[in-house]
Symmetry: C3
Subunit: 271 residues, 3 copies
C-alpha cells in the first residue's frame, strides 16, 4: 500500500469547480435537500428528477447519475431502471447506493436487480448493505450497519469481479475495492453516523468525482477522502450533529489543497 | 398532581442510548430529514419506508411505528393502514400524528379511520387537531393550532376511553391524557412553533420513548419533557428559528441528567 | 426609474405579521422543509398538500397558492392543475415557479400548460427558465440559469402581456416585469445560488406578499427585496452555504424596518 497524493484529489476538485458537472439524482425523500446542498457546496450542479417522462432528456444533460433506494417504491424503481439504462447508452458513470439492502427482501432484491441489470460503475454502501448483496435473504437492522468494512471486503471483491464495478464501503475506515485494487481511507469522524444522509452524500459526491475523473476507482476513493476531511473539519467546529451538518457544508465549500495536505490519511494498492 | 422525577426520564434515555431502537416512520415529505436527525440525535435508529412491498419486513425489525399524515395521499394511507395492522399483530407501539386534521375533510376522515381501525397507542397532536377528531366536519386553519391544549382535554379523555389510547396535546403547556390520568409539561419555548416539523419530531420521540418504556402514558410524557427542555436549551443559543433548529439537534444529542434536574417543569396525577 | 420606499415594503411585512396568511404550497420534495421554514420565519402559515382529495378544502383556507414543478410527475401535475383552477375561482393569487423549464421537454411543456391554462398572477424563475417559456423546445442546463435577467426581459414582457401576469426574474439583479412596468432589485449575495431552494423560497415569499398586497407587481418586487436583504444579512454572518442557510432564516425572522432602510437597493418605473 502507498499513500495517496493529496494533489491528485485536488486536481479533481479543480475540475469540478471549472466544469460544475450536472449530477442527476434519483434519490430518497429524506436526503434530497442535504444532497443537493452538498453538491452545490462542492461546486457541482445537482438536479433531482424522477418522472419517467423526463428521464431521457435529463440524462442527456448529465455528467453522472446517482441512484439511491432509501425510500423506494415501484414507480421510482421503474424510473431508476430507465435512467440506468439510458446512462449506460450514453456512457456516463452511475453510482448506486443500495440503502437498507438486507433490511427487507424488497430492498435486497431491488438492489440486486439494479446491480446486475443496471451495471453501475460504483456501488457505495455500508458493510451490512454490501454483505446483503451476496447473501440473498440475509437481513440487517434498518439502514445502519452492523458490520465493519473489513468484513465486507470479500463480498465486495466478488461483486467487483462479477459486475466489473468499484465497491466503496463506508465505515470507521472506508474501503474502496476494484477487483484486485484496494484503497483505505482513514479520514472521518465518529459523529458522522449521527447525521442522516451522510452516506447518501458520499454517494452523490462519488458521482461528482466520477464525472471528472476517468478512473472510477480513483474517483470513488477521492470522494471518500473529501467526505472524511470535511467531516473532520466540521466536527472540530460542531457541538453536536445539528451544528455538524452546517459546518460540513461550509467545509465542502471552503475545502483547500492545504486541508488535504494536512489531513489526508489514505493509501492504496501499490500497482 | 405530583412533580415528575427527572431520574425516571433519564432511565428511558439511558435505555435509548443502550438499545438504539429502530423506529419505523411513515411520515410526511416536509419533515423526513429533520425527524431522522432528531431520532439519530437522541440515540435511536430511524428508518423511513412507505412501500407496501416492504412494510411487513420493516415492521418485523422495528421497536415502534410512527405514522404522520402531513402530506397524505391514498397510496401512503394504504401503507399506513397496512403498517398499523402489522404493528398491532407484532404488538409494538404505534404513535399517530394527525397533522392538519380538521383542515380538510380528507385529513379528518383519514385521521378518524386510522384512530379507530389502527388502534394507535398514542395520538400526538395540537389542540385543534385533537378537537377535530371529536367534531367530525369541524375545520381549523391549516396545520397550526387555533386552540389551547386545555380546550382539548375533554375530547382527549373521550378518545382515550373509547380507543384505549394516550393523547398527547402539544401547546404552550403540553397535556398528556390517559383515561383518568393527566400529565402537564411546562417546558418548551415560544420559538418552537416557528420551526417546521417540531410537532412531528415530538411524535417521533414519543415513538422512541414508547419503544423503551412499557408505560405508554409515561413514555408520551417523557418525550414532551425532553422536547421542551431541548427547546429551551436551543432557544438560549439561537438568534432565530434557523439557528434554533440546529441547536435543538445538538441539545438532544448532549442532553444530560443535570439538564433534566435543572429544568424539568412537569407534573402528573397523583395515583 | 424611482427608488422604492422601504416603508411600503415594511407595511406588507406588518400585515404578514398581523394576519399570518395561510400559504398553500404544491412544491418539490427537495425544498419542502426549507420553504416551510422560510414561510414560518417571515410570519406566514405554510401548508404542503398535494392530494387531489383535499385540494378544494385546502384552497378554501388559503390566502395564496404557490406551485413549483421542481420534482414534477403526472399525478402532482394533475393536482397542480386542479389547485390552480380552484384558486382562480376563489380569486386568490397563484405564484408559479417553473423549475427547470427548458431542461427537459416535459418540464417545458408542463410549465407552458400551467401558465396558459392556470393563469398564475406571477411567474417567478431564473432567466433561462423564463426564456424557455418563449422558445418552446429550447434547452438549458439543469435547474441553474445560463442567462442573466436582462436577457429575459423581452420574453418576460411578452408573457406578461399575453397572459396578464407579473414575471419575476431572479439573478444578480432581480427584474420584475408587469407589461410596461419594470422594477429592478439590486439586493442579494453571490452565495445564494450555492444554497438549494432559495429560488423556491423566493417564489413562496412572493406568495406571502401577494396574499397581503393587492398590487401583484409590488408584492413580487417586495418579496425579492426581502429575499435579497435577508441574503445580505445572512452572508455577513456565514462562513459558507451551510451557515448561510440558517442565518437566512434568522434574518427573515428578525427583519426590521431599519434593515430595509439601510440596505434597500431597488427602483421601479416612474409611472
Amino acid at each position: 500500500m502507498i499513500p495517496i497524493d493529496p494533489s491528485e484529489v485536488w486536481e479533481d476538485i479543480e475540475k469540478i469547480h471549472e466544469r460544475s458537472p450536472l449530477i442527476h439524482n434519483i434519490t430518497n425523500y429524506v436526503v434530497m435537500n442535504t444532497t443537493a446542498n452538498a453538491l452545490l457546496a462542492i461546486g457541482a450542479s445537482p438536479v433531482m428528477a424522477h418522472a419517467a417522462e423526463e428521464i431521457e432528456d435529463m440524462i442527456g444533460l448529465a455528467s453522472a447519475l446517482v441512484i439511491n433506494i432509501g425510500t423506494l417504491s415501484p414507480p421510482w424503481v421503474a424510473s431508476m431502471r430507465k435512467a440506468m439504462s439510458r446512462a449506460g447508452k450514453k456512457n456516463i458513470p452511475v453510482v448506486l447506493d443500495p440503502v437498507g439492502a438486507g433490511a427487507t427482501r424488497y430492498r435486497t432484491s431491488t438492489a440486486l436487480m439494479l446491480v446486475s441489470e443496471g451495471r453501475p460503475a460504483v456501488v457505495r454502501a455500508n458493510a451490512s448493505e454490501i454483505m446483503s448483496l451476496q447473501t440473498r435473504g440475509g437481513r440487517t437492522k434498518g439502514v445502519d450497519s452492523l458490520h465493519r468494512p473489513e468484513e465486507a471486503v470479500d463480498v465486495a471483491r466478488i461483486l467487483s469481479e462479477k459486475f466489473d464495478l468499484t465497491v466503496s464501503i463506508s465505515g470507521a475506515k472506508d474501503m474502496i475495492i476494484k477487483k484486485d485494487l484496494t484503497a483505505v481511507v482513514g479520514n472521518g469522524h465518529s459523529m458522522m453516523p449521527r447525521v442522516t444522509g451522510l452516506g447518501c452524500t458520499a454517494s452523490a459526491l462519488t458521482g461528482v468525482f466520477a464525472a471528472v475523473n476517468p478512473s472510477i476507482f480513483k474517483a470513488a476513493t477521492h470522494a471518500m477522502i473529501v467526505m472524511g476531511i470535511a467531516g473532520e473539519i466540521a466536527a472540530e467546529k460542531a457541538a453536536g450533529p445539528g451544528t455538524f451538518q452546517i459546518h460540513f457544508l461550509d467545509a465542502l465549500y471552503n475545502l483547500a489543497l492545504r486541508d488535504l495536505k494536512e489531513r489526508i490519511r489514505a493509501e492504496k494498492s501499490d500497482g
